[in-house]
C-alpha cells in the first residue's frame, strides 16, 4: 500500500470498516511508514479535540419558555 492510498482509508480504518485483506495491508504500511503513522495520529487528535469543544446550549429565554410549556402541559 502506498501513502496516497493509506490517507484515503484512515476513516474506514478507524470505523473498523476495512475488509480483512485491506486491513492487513493498511496495518503493514502503518508499521513501516512514519509519515502515515503521524497522519493517522493527527486525524485522531483532530477527532479528540472536536470531542472537547464546549457545547452551546439553548438560549435562556427559549429554555425557560419550553420548561414553562412542559409544566403547563402537565398541570
Amino acid at each position: 500500500m502506498n501513502c496516497d492510498e493509506f490517507v484515503e482509508l484512515v476513516t474506514a480504518y478507524l470505523e473498523g470498516a476495512l475488509d480483512e485483506a485491506t486491513q492487513q495491508r493498511f496495518a503493514a504500511h502503518l508499521s513501516e511508514c512514519d509519515g502515515c503513522e503521524r497522519y493517522l495520529d493527527q486525524i485522531r487528535q483532530t477527532v479528540q479535540t472536536l470531542a472537547t469543544l464546549p457545547p452551546h446550549s439553548l438560549g435562556g429565554q427559549a429554555r425557560d419558555r419550553l420548561l414553562e410549556a412542559f409544566r403547563e402541559f402537565h398541570r
Binding site: 484515503e8 470531542a51 419550553l66
Partner: protein, 232 residues
C-alpha cells in the same frame, strides 16, 4: 418505585439514549411530568438539534423556531413514542419533518444538495505525494510535520478556534456529519437515520470533513509564530 437510571454523557455532553431500557424510563418520566428529565434532554440535545435544523432552513432564527416547535411537539406527543426507534431518533424525526415543512414554505431556501460535493476527489493534495517519475511513487514527498502539544491555554484556545472556523467552512452535509459524530458522539447508525444518508455516504462525508479540519490544523501549526516542527 425508584429506579436508578444511568445516563452516559458522550463527548460534547450529549446524553446517550441508545439503550431501550433507558429510553423507556426517560419517556416514562416525561409522560409523568418530570421537569428535570425534560431539562436534561433540552440541555443535552438542543445544540446538535439546532445544527441539524440549520442544515435545512435558511436562517439561525428559523432553526431556533424549528427546535422550539420540535420540543413542543415532543411534550404533546410523548405518549406516541413506542420505542420502535431510540427516543433521540424519534425526536430527530420530528425535528427533520418540521424543518422540511419550514423549508418548503421558505422561498429563499437553497435546495438540499444531493451529491453536490465531489465525493471522490482525494482528501490530501496529490502534490504531497511522489509522482510516477520519482523514486517512490505514491509515497510522501515530505512527512507531515510534527504538531507541537499545546503548551499554554492560549495555544489550546487558538487550536479550538481554528477547528471551529474549519468546521464552519465545511460543506453543509460534511459539517452535519462531523458535528453529530465527533462533537456530539452520535453513532454512525443514528447519524444515517437522522440525516437520511447511507452508511457509505456517511463515511465519505465524515472522512472528507475530518481531513479538511486536520489540514486546517496543520496550516495553523505550520505558521512560524506557532513554532512549526520538522517536516520529515
Amino acid at each position: 418505585m425508584a429506579v436508578e437510571v444511568v445516563v452516559e454523557a458522550a463527548p460534547g455532553g450529549a446524553i446517550q439514549t441508545d439503550a431501550p431500557l433507558i429510553d423507556a424510563e426517560l419517556a416514562g418520566r416525561l409522560r409523568g411530568g418530570d421537569e428535570k428529565a425534560f431539562a436534561e434532554l433540552l440541555d443535552g440535545w438542543s445544540q446538535a438539534m439546532l445544527r441539524v435544523a440549520r442544515g435545512y432552513v435558511s436562517s439561525d432564527q428559523t432553526a431556533e423556531d424549528v427546535v422550539q416547535e420540535t420540543w413542543l411537539a415532543v411534550i404533546r406527543g410523548i405518549d406516541r413514542f413506542e420505542g420502535r426507534s431510540s427516543l433521540r431518533t424519534w425526536v430527530y424525526r420530528i425535528l427533520v419533518n418540521i424543518a422540511k415543512a419550514h423549508r418548503a414554505r421558505d422561498s429563499r431556501t437553497v435546495p438540499w444538495p444531493a451529491l453536490a460535493e465531489d465525493d471522490t476527489a482525494p482528501t490530501v493534495d496529490r502534490g504531497r505525494f511522489q509522482s510516477a517519475d520519482e523514486p517512490y511513487p505514491g509515497h510522501w514527498r515530505r512527512f507531515p510535520m510534527v504538531w507541537p502539544s499545546p503548551e499554554t491555554d492560549v495555544v489550546a484556545h487558538e487550536v479550538r478556534d481554528t477547528i471551529e472556523a474549519a468546521v464552519a467552512e465545511l460543506p453543509q452535509r460534511q459539517r452535519l456529519v462531523l458535528t453529530l459524530r465527533d462533537m456530539h458522539g452520535y453513532s454512525a447508525v443514528e447519524v444515517c437515520e437522522i440525516l437520511e444518508v447511507s452508511p457509505q455516504n456517511q463515511r465519505v462525508l465524515l472522512h472528507r470533513a475530518r481531513a479538511a479540519v486536520r489540514a486546517r490544523l496543520e496550516e495553523y501549526f505550520g505558521r512560524p509564530s506557532t513554532g512549526g516542527g520538522e517536516a520529515r
